[in-house]
Symmetry: C2
Subunit: 429 residues, 2 copies
């Protein structure tokens, strides 16, 4: 009984950390409102970003500080800085996509596409990754990778196709049924296929079947048409909701955070200016009605110190959401749907927390916040590269296995797996 | 056609490298003759050690040398030296096993079991791993891990049970059918279960479900009775022939080399003293008759410059095999059974190689030889720890996933996988 109660406490504490993380860091507007069609966050196959993205413990462990002081560190291969080759892709895959996105929104073609600004949306990892690698080395503070100009020196190859932006180029444009009236039309699918055609011509792609390549496909639908042709590569994705287990996995790929659409809270730790207990703003009805969001609205909208509001993507709503999140103690992102739907459960749990504990959560969040900020110099992009770097031993292993001489005629794929608990450990809620 | 011929050449060259590696480094006596029952190397599920053990390219890559000179290296988590806690196991799991092995062979019980010498056999990784961690830090030259005395500081926990020796304690002892005549009897299975009972009492085992523990099970049958209870740990194994994919995999575990039962060649590169083209010595008939060995004997035994000899484990035979391998250009370890059985194929391929090429192979081997030598100060043990160290990010990820709050009721294990080519790439032979 004592053990069960301790488990329960631990579970609640962890849920709350997630809630606070969400309050401070995550995007607030439902993907259903964005122009791309992201996967439902309550889909059983999709994973919460916070569960899987960055193993902070590793980056923060004491061994990091102590590494260099050991006399034997010289022989440890993992210590090295990895070398990345940035492909100079044809313009159609990078700034050309920005241009089409701009034209589709009624703007004039640019004189110099390289000067076009990448438009804000929630799948901007591709932009920050690209920007980072095109900066001079001296400005790439704290990066675990360096850019090399000679592909023969590279450990990894980065393919900077703006795949998520490509997906939404045409979303603002009405379907053209008649003859096109002189506009430059754009096809995401054509561009995806052109990218694969281009890659398959590259010596360094062919050499290792793309295994040492890194490709960003942050929108769950990005690259959907060619995913089977690039699945050997390390993919930077939002989740695995729409990818089969032979296309992507936690082992091979990296889950990257959304870029924020609201302002990050930069103030001090404290609850004086956070009068609301719980805040949420986003689409009340998701795709096909949604799974639990409307039920949560019904449960929570009449609670005195809780604000749950329907809101779609707009500058005005983003401002209101920033304001709402920055003045609330918690935001809503329940990890266990069944418990969250029990009347009174969430609010009584949150009301039971002391101010001291809430401020402790806030301090902890402050420490890890930079991992979720793409704009920071030593922020998300560096952490993504750290995660990718850690895949290198496995990438090399897989490349070696591809070279094997043994002729195999298997009826199933030859997979090496890492499995977790089938039923979950903490089920005491 | 030109492409096919080039592929063929490449394939042959690679086969030869494997043959030469085998000639210089590998064990020669069939596991069928050893007292334990190892898995057949021609089993489709087992993998050649040379394919999978050590990704040399990584350890040798230029990035290793350059790592420290970069100003941003300080922020790369992989660089750190990992901390390992060596469990002080009850004596029954370590020196007690040596004592029982000794008593079972007619020797008197020792006054001080700690002074007993670990007996030579081909699954001695457990001994070398243990010896390494019990040495003073100053003597652990080039190790990528340091031993810590405080378990709270540890990244990984090493469980030094002599599981392979335990398996063969009783093989020299006739089955006892009547009452035991005063001898101290030993049961490997009992000891396996006692180990798990002991582990399951340990705070650090329970804390992370054993995921941050490293356990050696080099003999394919070692720990067979309890493998399901230790499968979360990093296992050091010979192959995956007898392990299911949810028990062990290339992702989670490390394949370790056999310890040599013959003397390593220490002479110079050259072919003057290598008059034999091809040498093999081992059991002609393996378990259930074997798959291709007898056929190879028939094909090769009448070739003039080839020596294939039947031989069982004995000091005399080990000496003969050392002599035979050290005076032969190649040893036999074909990667593709079907081609090797084509009359004349192997010998004509080998006879076609120039002296220059053979010496090139020898030089390449000399460079990597130390990875296969347990006795060397910076040899196999350090490389095993390097491989284990590279698993840490995944270990942390899996530990984090075990903590998830989402209640799952899955009908299948939740596995993340890395898959390779289903049919093999080089099938031109």
């Amino acid at each position: 009984m004592a053990r069960k109660s301790s488990l329960l406490k631990q579970t609640l504490a962890t849920i709350l950390v997630l809630l606070v993380v969400y309050a401070l860091l995550n995007t607030f507007l439902s993907p259903a409102n964005s122009s791309s069609s992201s996967s439902s966050s309550s889909s059983p196959k999709s994973m919460s970003k916070l569960e899987t993205t960055f193993p902070f413990t590793y980056a923060n462990s004491a061994s990091v500080e102590n590494g260099f002081s050991r006399e034997n560190a010289n022989n440890f291969p993992g210590k090295s800085v990895l070398k990345v080759y940035l492909y100079e892709l044809p313009k159609r895959f990078t700034h050309g996509v920005i241009e089409h996105h701009s034209i589709a929104r009624g703007r004039q073609p640019a004189d110099d596409v390289a000067l076009l600004q990448y438009p804000g949306h929630q799948h901007m990892a591709e932009w920050y990754m690209y920007k980072d690698l095109t900066r001079p080395d001296s400005e790439r503070v704290g990066s675990p990778v360096i850019r090399v100009s000679d592909p023969d020196e590279a450990d990894l190859f980065y393919v900077p196709f703006f795949s998520s932006l490509s997906l939404i180029v045409n979303t603002a444009r009405p379907a053209v049924s008649g003859p096109d009236q002189g506009r430059v039309m754009y096809s995401d699918e054509e561009n995806q296929e052109a990218l694969v055609d281009w890659l398959e011509e590259q010596e360094y792609w062919k050499r290792k079947n793309g295994r040492d390549h890194v490709i960003v496909a942050q929108d769950p639908n990005a690259l959907y048409r060619v995913i089977d042709k690039v699945k050997n590569s390390v993919l930077l994705v939002s989740d695995f909701g729409r990818l089969r287990s032979d296309q992507a996995s936690l082992i091979k790929d990296v889950i990257v955070p959304y870029s924020h659409r609201i302002n990050t809270y930069t103030g001090d730790v404290g609850v004086e200016n956070r009068k609301t207990l719980l805040f949420f703003m986003g689409a009340r009805y998701r795709k096909e009605g949604g799974k639990i969001r409307d039920l949560l609205f019904q449960l929570l909208e009449n609670e005195e110190d809780v604000i749950v509001r329907h809101g779609t993507q707009s500058r005005e709503n983003r401002r209101a959401a920033s304001q709402g999140m920055h003045t609330s103690k918690f935001c809503l992102n329940p990890a266990d749907s069944a418990s969250a739907l029990k009347p009174g459960f969430v609010v009584s749990m949150l009301r039971g927390l002391t101010t001291e504990r809430i401020m402790e959560y806030q301090r902890e969040l402050k420490e890890v916040k930079h991992y979720f900020q793409y704009g920071e110099l030593n922020g998300t992009v560096n952490e993504i590269w750290r995660q990718v770097s850690q895949k290198l031993p496995l990438i090399k292993l897989m490349i070696n296995r591809d070279k094997r001489l043994v002729k195999r005629e298997l009826t199933e794929p030859d997979c090496s797996c890492l499995c977790t608990n089938q039923t979950g450990i903490l089920t005491s809620l």
